[in-house]
């Protein structure tokens, strides 16, 4: 095989993107655990270690740029690099959303609406990311379509959860004894919960993006992009 060094760099890029995917998934797990157990130490770790993900992102971005500038990739190689370039952006955003979970953990003083299954939604979204990265690794286009379909389910879960919270908030009866501080605290708690649900829904969107770019990479098919 010709261009051995180039092929080696392509293989390494694939490995590094998969590694970044693993780091991001681990960070999501930590964020969800911190949120569930109100573990501020773990939350701090999630927040501070976001810098690692950012560094990984920048290194891989540089590698993609170098490969394009120096190796002039074409055809399948070009699609692989272009797709990877986009996928690392999505992974970096998932890392940011995991960081948000750490921040919400530190801001929360109590559980509001414990009936809302944040952990279930989080696990669902995380599994989509895991499967999207497996699809990328295995170049599994069937899995790409399947992940896209699953996003509708996640959206419905999030919409139900948000609707439940908003409806309940509207129906909450405030008495004369309710202080302004209590009202502000309630609103802050509800806003945080709604933001958490929104963030988890976005994790699913990023998983779909990974699947969409994988489909493009494998089959030059942009059916799932937008």
């Amino acid at each position: 095989m010709a261009r051995k060094e180039y092929q080696k760099r392509l293989d390494e890029l694939r490995e590094d993107v998969l590694y970044m995917g693993e780091v991001v998934q681990e960070r999501m797990r930590m964020g969800l655990t911190a949120l569930e157990s109100k573990d501020e130490t773990l939350a701090d770790e999630v927040i501070t270690r976001d810098a690692e993900i950012n560094e990984l992102y920048l290194a891989l971005e540089r590698e993609c740029t170098d490969l394009i500038a120096l190796q002039q990739p074409v055809a399948g190689d070009l699609r692989f690099i272009a797709a990877s370039f986009k996928i690392i952006t999505d992974l970096e955003r998932v890392g940011d959303l995991a960081t948000n979970l750490g921040k919400y953990t530190k801001q929360a003083e109590r559980d509001v609406y414990p009936d809302v299954d944040v952990q279930g939604i989080g696990a669902f979204a995380l599994e989509m990311v895991e499967d999207a990265m497996e699809a990328y690794a295995a170049e599994d286009t069937d899995a790409c379509y399947e992940i896209d379909e699953r996003d509708d389910e996640l959206d419905a879960m999030c919409e139900r959860a948000s609707g439940f919270v908003v409806r309940d908030l509207i129906e909450t009866e405030l008495t004369e004894d309710t202080t302004d501080a209590e009202i502000e605290r309630l609103l802050a708690d509800v806003s945080r919960l709604l933001l958490t649900i929104r963030d988890l829904e976005r994790v699913g969107d990023h998983a779909v993006n990974v699947a969409a770019r994988t489909l493009y990479m494998v089959e030059n098919d942009d059916a799932l992009i937008y």
């Binding site: 261009r3 074409v74 070009l78 030059n220």
Partner: protein, 294 residues
Amino acid sequence: MSDDTSMNETPTIETHTEAKSTDDRSPASEADADVAGMDDQSIGEETVIEARDLSVFYGDERALQPVNVEIPDRQVTAIIGPSGCGKSTFLRSINRMNDMIDVARVDGELLFRDTNVYGEAVDPVALRRAIGMVFQKPNPFPKSIYDNVAYGLRIQGKDDDLDEQVESALRRAALWDEVSDRLGESALDMSGGQQQRLCIARAIAPDPEVILMDEPASALDPVATSQIEDLIEELARDYTVVIVTHNMQQAARISDKTMVFLTGGELVEFGDTSRIFENPDNQRVEDYITGKFG
């Protein structure tokens, strides 16, 4: 030395009547066209050159497998492939340059504007006036810049308004501004890039319809190369350009269509350049352009 030196006063090639009409294509050649991955996009574009089961032999050895392809008007068609794959053989078969090789033999048809250029009535010298050629190494005549461009025009007796025609050709070859004040100087004193643009000016002076280029920038530095590439894109507004290049990035940059020949003289794929370089149909083409073999 350029074949222009052998020009005579033979008139046009439009005398041949034996060529099949485009509706007369045999089922076999259609099948071959499918194998070559002909793009649907080529349908509707005016075809200038068409190969129908065109094979070239050197003695007993087949240098070109049967080629079926339609090259569109006023576009740049690049021919790429590894060394010895037949790309220059195909290029040279378009204006019968292979005639100069004693052992070369051609089967099939090569139609230029629906006329088989290998028909008995076709004069190869006149053909080469309509289908000019630029070679890898600049080959100006040891004459003045002016005379290099005027040479073919004089031979054809087109010497009315010669100054105007020379200036026009030099302008079209993007050389006029650099040489307008030294037209009497020897062409051999020019830089390599200028010499190559002079050869292009010489090729376009007789107003051909097609310009064949055989690795025209491979002997030039990057600046001269980019000037030639800019020029090729300009020329494609008025001429059909067919270019052989070893530089795949050059093919990707400047061509509208790409033909990929692979080992054994086989045309493996032909289509829009963007598609060939983003998503080729053929795995061997993918392997070649990504550097996995060749």
